[in-house]
Symmetry: C2
Subunit: 608 residues, 2 copies
């Protein structure tokens, strides 16, 4: 098996011949970015082959210049490992994902349903012939026998005696999940995960205190088989094998996030007994292995909308013994658990005002609370805000440009962790477009001025207008660190227009459906899995939200899907509430609605 | 693979070389008896090798005379099949098990928890986007989503569309077990099973009407590894493999009973969605794969006493899709679900009188209701009443002598189905001993008179006293049908004394424990898995019950374990009641009690 040595860390790993180099990097824990999921389309997985044989660079020509290719640069996703290699992946080990964890909204109140209870049980005697499970019941002070899987019951006699009746009993409500070695200060951990179409983000919690311990995120590895849900469902429809492959990919990512967050928190994955997952309906189906085929075609029917409580092992995810897996319920084929979690996180479904929740992900999901009822719809916004389909896009992680603006007449950027710029994340994208509009470098149709035209419109930024292989572009950061310059291209702006137009059109149609205007909205919660809070001003300036919304009404709430999923992780009451939301929200089908097509065409343009 | 041809049926079967001939007979459905479970100890699995090579008869010399062996007779359990054989097994195909199904006691009231509901569902449309499971919920008129295993949910989309939304939904309470092809008059069946240490008996029910459809029984195939529970636990303790083997054997027997009862009722095993099992605590542990090790040694601790509701597939039993398996709860290591079922069947635990339930199986389990509380104990009676350890013993099936007596001064027997006598079952054994005592052929110490002594005591029966290889014996039936004569030997009578002495001693000690006398008993229910009702007079005459019980108080109730298990099959309320019984009954430990040893010694003798 070929040996790969990673620089600068010096880490070595053997992989079977034929392994994809990007896969090998990820398995070895190297945070090489790949927003297209390894399809050779984003050009972001650049690595340098220091020694060893690889074939010439073929495909995606813009990604590497001939001189770069000659110097050993390759896109890792296009390289098959056939012999020993030394590969420079840059300082990826220092790259951390950024997931907002200072959620506002509803405060979590852990109900301690999942807990690990230390027990020193009296040993059996002729005077005390209580059965093994009854002894545990008594030790726990329960009135009824706890529920218990047959597999655990089959080992119970041995486990109790191996540990000499000094054990920790791990409970989920009235179910005994595991019997473990006695540990007086034991804890039970839980993982809340937002499975987005493009990005997967996880937060590890101490289920006793409700405290967040660690975060991690990944590109959704299913993206290799399509970067939107419909393409991914098409792939799943090839057969059971394909569906199982997609399930395996997302379960693999959950396993990595589990391992990474546990490592960060100096915990064992075996201490994690509950995993709560929010995501859109397709992600939910693919995780559980449900057939998504009828989601893709009219009349768009999911197998199940309700929340599921199963075992992590039933989907092949290894965590603590008997660990439970919960999926937040969905509303419809295209309004998923992420929006249920979002409504839950900010208690919007109980609100008396006219309020809007806009979750900007690969799908733009929108919920409206008006006149005591809640409505929701979904639009295919595309993954621009998550870094995909944007030439220099990346997810929110170390080195991502998250803020773009002008201060004292001068252009500036801020990057996550103040690291050298490596790409542009969603918040930076929104800021950059808003800046270009403010400076007159971008017109209402989305046309990016060339440098000559720019000199008139905004002399101080004109020199940042460049011409590269794809045409006119706006330079965000100079070449550095083995990475090419970072620029927002005309094509990127078109992608952005598609995304924001879909969201704004969805908001408009939803308001029209219930006979409301944008001015009626007293609160607009702008959510998404960004690394920092979106600037409401940028959202309004770029027309991500339709005209007429009061600026003061808009607030950025971060990853509301993750915020709500964490509530479900920590509290059974919250899971009941999520179930109620999923049942009560009225779904508005936009597909085939002429009014949506018209609004979409309008909203593609930028506000004057 | 050698080919075996069975005569007289002509049925042929191939088996791997080295297969035990008794196993081969059973797998081919030939009802060759083997009350010792195939250990070469009972001599009952006599078959004749018509052609083909088998080694000479070795072992258990009394079973076959040299001339019989020369004529091709062998004990099937001692023959390894190495080449093609033609084997005459006699008219075994006409042999049916006899299980009493006209139970008295509590009448079953099916609560229709398990049912197969035909549904013609409206197809989805843009105006009706209900999810698949929601559509079924609506069709069933439910308010909440039914529970559903992930495995079924993964196939739900496909199944609904394959059947064009015309389905049968099989429900167990609020759980969807299966989705099947539409059948307007579909039914759901259930199997109630009494797993005895020696005999396994099953009854197939229509769960809608509560009607019994078919019966079947088997020798418990675990008997090969010990004919009492302690020996069997010793075997299980050899390791996981041994425990799994015992589990596989009993699951195999359940599968055979399932197949046989379904075939009798012209049903498919796939229509059986619920299986309720009663049995002693060891049988319960071995079926579920729980470790029985701590049952065998002081202080006698079972893993779990409570009733279990799991899936049949979890123990490897194939029935209807998603079929559930329920085990009746146990009271202690040696008072099992069979006694709980017995108390339930006759509502004894709610009774205000002083009543006794005596279940005569391989273990004699005894329950006493007195002063508003219920007590129970257990004695190791041995399997005499189930045909094992009695030289001509057999279980209650066609040809078993079930009644023995004297009418108009003449000896007579009755056999099950009026067939030629093939052996002696439990009720016949009791009658035979009672007759010998009445006629003075048996004294109070258990000594069987020789023919000379008998001529004085009872001239009309004296000539039935014979001397065979084992000593003095009482002839029950002449040689016939390839079978030797049937006789009750002195050794058989000693086995009987051990069994009845243990039961009577248990009753005495239990009464003493609560300060009652035999004369206080207003009702004594005599139960066991017999093919016909025990004669109370014989039970009193032989001292199976201790002296002082009013003859009018004794009633024979048949297989109360099966009667109660069928109630649990048909009704959730009865399962709750069983749980309450198991919790409330006070267990009295006899082991190490001097009073029990003394009573046992006394009760071995026969009443004068």
């Amino acid at each position: 098996m070929p040996l790969i040595t990673f620089q600068p860390s010096g880490k070595k790993t053997n992989v079977p011949a034929g392994t994809n180099l990007l896969d090998a990097c990820h398995r070895a824990g190297m945070g090489v970015p790949a927003s297209c999921g390894g399809k050779g389309l984003c050009g972001k997985c650049r690595v340098r082959i220091v020694s060893g044989k690889v074939p010439p660079h073929v495909g995606y020509e813009q990604a590497l210049s001939p001189s770069e290719a000659a110097a050993g640069w390759r896109l890792a996703c296009l390289v098959s490992v056939e012999s020993d290699l030394v590969v420079d992946v840059g300082e990826t080990s220092a790259i951390r994902s950024v997931i907002l964890t200072d959620f506002g909204g509803v405060r979590p109140e852990p109900d301690h349903e999942v807990k690990s209870v230390p027990l020193e049980l009296p040993k059996p005697s002729l005077a005390d012939q209580t059965c093994d499970i009854g002894r545990i019941m008594r030790g726990l002070g329960l009135e009824e026998y706890p529920r218990c899987a047959l597999a655990l019951m089959q080992q119970l006699a041995r486990k109790l005696r191996e540990h000499d009746f000094r054990i920790n009993a791990v409970l989920f409500g009235n179910e005994l999940l595991a019997v473990e070695k006695f540990r007086p200060e034991s804890r039970a951990l839980g993982l809340a995960v937002d499975i987005g179409t493009t990005t997967v983000a996880g937060l590890l919690f101490d289920l006793q205190s409700g405290q967040a311990l660690a975060v991690a995120s990944r590109t959704n590895p299913q993206a290799v088989h399509g970067d939107d849900v419909v393409t991914r469902i098409d792939y799943a429809n090839r057969g059971d094998e394909a569906r199982k492959k997609l399930q395996g990919l997302i379960v693999g990512a959950l396993g990595e996030i589990l391992a990474e967050t546990c490592a960060s928190a100096s915990a064992e994955t075996g201490e994690v007994f509950f995993i709560a997952v929010g995501g859109n309906t397709t992600m939910h189906h693919l995780l559980l292995g449900l057939e998504p085929v009828n989601i893709a075609a009219s009349p768009y029917i999911p197998v199940a909308k309700r929340g599921w409580l199963t075992r992590a092992s039933h989907v092949g995810l290894r965590a603590g013994e008997g660990a439970r897996l919960y999926t937040v319920p969905n509303i419809s084929a295209y309004v998923g658990g992420d929006i249920v979690a979002g409504l839950l996180a900010y208690d919007l479904h109980n609100c008396d005002e006219t309020v809007l929740l806009v979750d900007v992900g690969t799908n733009g999901e929108i919920a409206l609370r008006a006149d005591g009822a809640t409505y929701a719809c979904s639009t295919a916004a595309g993954p621009a805000f998550e870094g995909a389909r944007i030439s220099c896009g990346m997810r929110a992680a170390t080195g991502a440009i998250s803020v773009v603006g002008k201060r004292d007449g001068k252009f500036f950027i801020e990057t996550i962790d103040d690291a050298p710029a490596r790409g542009l994340c969603g918040t930076g994208l929104l800021d950059a477009v808003a800046l270009l509009l403010d400076c007159g470098l971008l017109d209402e149709t989305g046309y990016l001025l060339d440098r000559d035209e720019a000199k008139d419109a905004c002399p101080e930024l004109a020199e940042r207008i460049i011409e590269d292989k794809t045409g006119t572009a706006f330079l965000l950061a100079e070449k550095s660190n083995g990475h090419p310059h970072l620029a927002l291209t005309q094509k990127d702006i078109r992608e952005f227009q598609l995304a924001k137009g879909a969201v704004a059109a969805g908001v408009r149609v939803l308001l029209e459906t219930v006979g409301k205007n944008t001015s009626d909205l007293t609160r607009v919660c702008l959510a998404g899995g960004f690394g920092s809070y979106l600037k409401p001003a940028s959202a309004l300036r770029t027309g991500l939200l339709p005209q007429g919304i009061k600026p003061g009404a808009v607030e950025a709430v971060g990853n509301s899907a993750l915020a709500g999923t964490r509530l479900c992780l920590l509290s059974g009451r919250m899971r009941d509430e999520a179930e109620r939301i999923a049942r009560e929200v009225k779904y508005i089908e936009l597909s085939g609605q002429l009014s949506f097509q018209e609004a979409f065409t309008d909203e593609m343009e930028f506000p004057v």
